[in-house]
């Protein structure tokens, strides 16, 4: 087997979170975040509805997961230096896909967590610990089919968080 690979670092130069209009098609530039979760005490459950949100995204997780098309919510999350937490999504309306990425809010970014379940219900991430402090993003999506709808996003653990400036679109 000869597997030939580029070994250089991920190309991130020139890519920001994209709060201004740009050509970063499958980035967060074209869709506002559904919430911002800063470092602090764990929040209570957050309710949302992802229908028709951020449909500029057709894929996530290094463009390897094809989204169902119903919509995806995005949360920006600040993670402190000491962290040990899980993230859960519960929905009776769709089969939840939980994506969790660092730094660059784009379909190109590799997922730290890429988790789903077999049917509507609750998906929970593995425990996240030892993460570098910084900005992360949570995707509330569906890769099983095109369904979307209401969900609850919740956390357990020591970091995050306290919910601030939350709005549902």
């Amino acid at each position: 087997m000869k597997l030939k690979a580029i070994s250089s670092a991920l190309l991130l130069a020139g890519v920001t979170f994209g709060f201004v209009g740009s050509a970063f098609a499958q980035s967060c530039a074209a869709g506002p975040f559904q919430g911002s979760i800063p470092t602090g005490a764990p929040p209570a459950g957050v309710s949302g509805n992802n229908c028709n949100n951020n449909t500029n995204f057709t894929k996530i997780c290094s463009n390897s997961e094809t989204l169902g098309g119903g919509g995806m919510d995005i949360y920006q999350m600040a993670v402190g230096a000491s962290n040990n937490f899980t993230i859960s999504i519960q929905s009776a309306a769709f089969t939840p896909e939980l994506g969790f990425i660092a730094t660059n809010c784009s379909s190109n970014t590799a997922c730290i967590v890429d988790a789903t379940i077999a049917a509507p219900g609750t998906v929970t991430s593995p425990t996240q610990t030892g993460l570098a402090a910084g900005t992360y993003f949570i995707f509330v999506a569906n890769v099983a089919d095109g369904n979307c709808g209401a969900y609850n996003l919740s956390f357990t653990g020591t970091t995050p968080v306290k919910l601030q400036n939350f709005s549902v679109q």
């Binding site: 087997m1 098609a25 896909e97």
Partner: protein, 255 residues
């Protein structure tokens, strides 16, 4: 024409002239890893419901290959792939790649048995277009490869090209493509059974996409992901095998 081999990190080169086959295959294990694929790839992503390991033998006469199987009860995000990430100096307007694959163990009775096996994406794309520049899917029924080629002249931003796989005695195939950006650019592809010669001047098919708005391939994924439920149901434990990936800027790679 100058040949620019993007990178060559041989994982396990066996059967060197006059040498005994003592070199070890890389040990490929599941999960996420950096580097990936036993060491030569930038990274890998393999879910717990995918068996991601060494194949018993390689393709095209090699001794090692990557084997990816769906486990029983696999979920919609089941995946197993290696990634080849390019640094800024490696990104250009032309990208050629080749690999071998083995579908002999797969059960693909209908066209709704589908899996993505390769994609290469850019850092940026024009307007609202996705960043993928080329996607490759394995299609069941009349077994085919389906290319989605970035093309801003299409309403969907992609031209769909479906090419039936030729007859193969052992289910082993070679696929190569040459993607050149422009307005128009060019896309050429070659598909043959393993061992059947191919030539730069005689591609299996061609197309002229408008793809100058993408910023050039910055990462390629190779493996098995984005599967349909029918693919997963029909292929529990059946390995899909890939080998001999090579990518270049200018020169034809061939068999």
């Amino acid at each position: 024409m100058k040949s620019f081999t993007m990178k060559a990190l041989a994982v396990a080169v066996l059967g060197l002239a006059g040498a005994s086959a003592m070199a070890a295959c890389p040990t490929i294990t599941g999960g996420n890893a950096t580097p990936g694929g036993g060491g030569a790839w930038t990274s890998q992503s393999a879910s717990a419901d995918t068996t991601f390991t060494n194949a018993p033998t390689g393709l095209n006469g090699t001794s090692c290959a990557l084997s990816i199987s769906v486990n029983a009860g696999a979920l919609s995000n089941t995946r197993g792939f290696v990634s080849d990430t390019h640094g800024p100096s490696d990104i250009g307007s032309r990208y050629r790649a080749r690999f071998y694959f083995d579908i002999s163990a797969l059960n693909l009775p209908l066209a709704n048995n589908q899996a993505e096996i390769f994609n290469a994406f850019a850092n940026t794309a024009p307007g609202a277009a996705p960043t993928d520049m080329i996607q490759m899917f394995l299609i069941g029924g009349t077994k085919s490869l389906r290319f989605l080629v970035a093309d801003s002249s299409q309403g969907s931003f992609y031209k769909t090209i479906t090419a039936a796989l030729p007859a193969s005695a052992n289910g082993h195939y070679y696929v190569e493509f040459d993607l050149n950006q422009g307005a128009p650019g060019s896309f050429r592809y070659w598909i043959t059974p393993e061992g059947t010669a191919s030539a730069d001047g005689t591609p299996t098919g061609t197309y002229a996409p408008t793809n100058n708005g993408w910023s050039g391939v910055m990462q390629a994924n190779l493996g098995r992901y984005s599967t349909t439920v029918n693919f997963r149901t029909n292929n529990v434990g059946a390995p899909f095998i890939v080998d001999e990936f090579d990518s270049r800027r200018q020169t034809f790679i061939g068999q």
